[in-house]
Symmetry: C2
Subunit: 311 residues, 2 copies
């Protein structure tokens, strides 16, 4: 039996692991990947103290530190959680089961889909949700990327280093991304901005051949001839396997107080799986540390374990 | 006029500066020091992503990044804050004044004193609140350190690398510090633990000659013959110069919501100056980023600027 199982190995989960291990709690981290959404940022400049680097490199450092302090990493998809005497039992998609006294949920979000014709058919075969993973497959080819946040804008810049031409399709005419990044975008001659536009369908027979988009202002339709389509329109939470244990909000995010307590004593949450407004590596890391320290407090008989909704 | 003035240059303030500068907000950081309490930790191992290093080194990195993104650093003690049309005016102890549209308070805490005879007389001349700054002054001499948290325990270990003998005086018989650090302490032959004991007075004529302590269980008194005394019993907030603008709690900490909003629109706070339970560099950094992004939202007309006490 573990003292703590942490589900998720992004910035929040790995930081939580560093903290629980330093408190000498026997800790397992269960995750389908290592690094979470930070991996998707090719050039992270705003995590303080490290200087700019690839998100994957930063998350490898977090991983090495967590393992160095004693965390056990179990690769797999947690899809079952049950309350047992003195703790919780976590089931994995492969049938494995693990038990723990306390649980920290920090497995973030899954990419949102466009919901258009052809998207599902070509997912993983021309339609991708990970620029970092798949950009090199489209060297000297044409690609489209959908979205207007930091990930989309940074994704377009990363794609431009590989691809011949990059269409950035965004449903608005301004960007939520950092101004400093948007400027780089506008100065890149390989990138064509297709603004005020939404995708209608992915075109192709055996392979992706293009994407049809509609200008929401003029209602004009246009086909962008591309070999690859990257979807960067955000992420959704999937908390279905824990909703019988913890309260969630209307977005299905796990409700926490300012120390990571959920509505269930012994279950804590941090990072993008919670309603935190700003999705940033340093913020997830900070909240992961809070959840871990609150978890330690709870396991050692500290007060404040059950959610105090008033503070 | 600055877009943002950040008061304090510790982990919270410098991270806030990185974030406001990346949003192209004209940012000044006003502080009496650079690094804040992280400076006092000689070997910070739990800030994820950097590997172990001195707190001062880590904070220099934060500083370089903030300045690299455009932050202006103004050394001085802010002791006056007034609401003006379209913003705030900040006064410094040296008489200088600066104006800004939005204010982020992140100047943390000041060291708590013992309140015993002789302490004030020898402050800075044998009594110190900063192991890192003053430990080298006591090479091959005897010292006492008062406290039981991470700073005291880590301080004792650091002192032991310089001093002949280190007394660690703690009013309880167990430590709040990380187990991993407490073990190092117990294995260090230069360190004598004086537990269940409180200081009564600092002894000495021209120089510190010792400290009298009392065992709270046996009521026995004892004089520890030392040349230096380090106080590591925590910190207090001093929010007197902003209490006419923002709500504080019974500890005088500035009350914030989960995004750093204070009770005053346009003033944000983060780090140890807020009621955050856990005083950790990565937590202060995460909350500094939240306050900066919320500040940006507010300056650009986003919602949620005034404290929403219900969430």
């Amino acid at each position: 039996m573990y003292d703590v199982i942490i589900v998720g190995a992004g910035a929040a989960g790995l930081t939580a692991a560093i903290y629980t291990c330093r408190k000498k709690l026997k800790t397992a981290v269960i995750s389908i990947d290592v690094g979470g959404q930070t991996n998707l940022t090719s050039h992270i400049e705003n995590y303080p103290g490290t200087g700019p680097m690839h998100g994957i490199e930063l998350m490898k450092r977090f991983q090495n530190e967590a393992i160095g302090f004693g965390a056990e990493l179990i690769m797999g998809k947690a899809n079952k959680a049950d309350k047992i005497e003195n703790g919780f039992r976590i089931g994995l998609a492969n049938g494995e089961e693990y038990e723990c006294k306390a649980l920290i949920l920090a497995y973030g979000k899954v990419p949102k889909s466009l919901g258009v014709e052809g998207e599902e058919k070509f997912m993983g075969r021309g339609v991708s949700t990970c620029v970092t993973c798949d950009a090199p497959l489209f060297k000297n080819r044409n690609v489209a990327i959908i979205g207007g946040g930091n990930s989309a804008v940074e994704g377009a810049l990363e794609l431009a280093t590989f691809s011949k031409k990059v269409y950035l399709t965004h449903r608005r005419d301004s960007f939520r991304a950092d101004e400093i990044t948007v400027e780089k975008l506008k100065n890149n001659s390989k990138i064509e901005l297709v603004l005020n536009s939404i995708p209608l369908k992915v075109i192709g027979d055996k392979n992706v051949e293009g994407i049809e988009v509609e200008n929401v202002v003029t209602k004009e339709k246009r086909e962008l001839k591309v070999d690859g389509i990257f979807i960067e329109i955000g992420y959704v939470v999937d908390t279905s396997f824990v909703q019988h244990l913890v309260k969630v909000n209307e977005k299905k995010e796990i409700i926490v107080d300012d120390r990571g307590n959920t509505s269930c004593a012994g279950i804590f949450a941090a990072g993008d799986i919670t309603p935190v407004l700003f999705k940033q590596t340093v913020i997830a890391a900070g909240d992961g540390a809070k959840a871990a320290l609150e978890c330690y407090r709870w396991l050692t008989g500290g007060k404040g374990a059950v959610l105090d909704w008033t503070h």
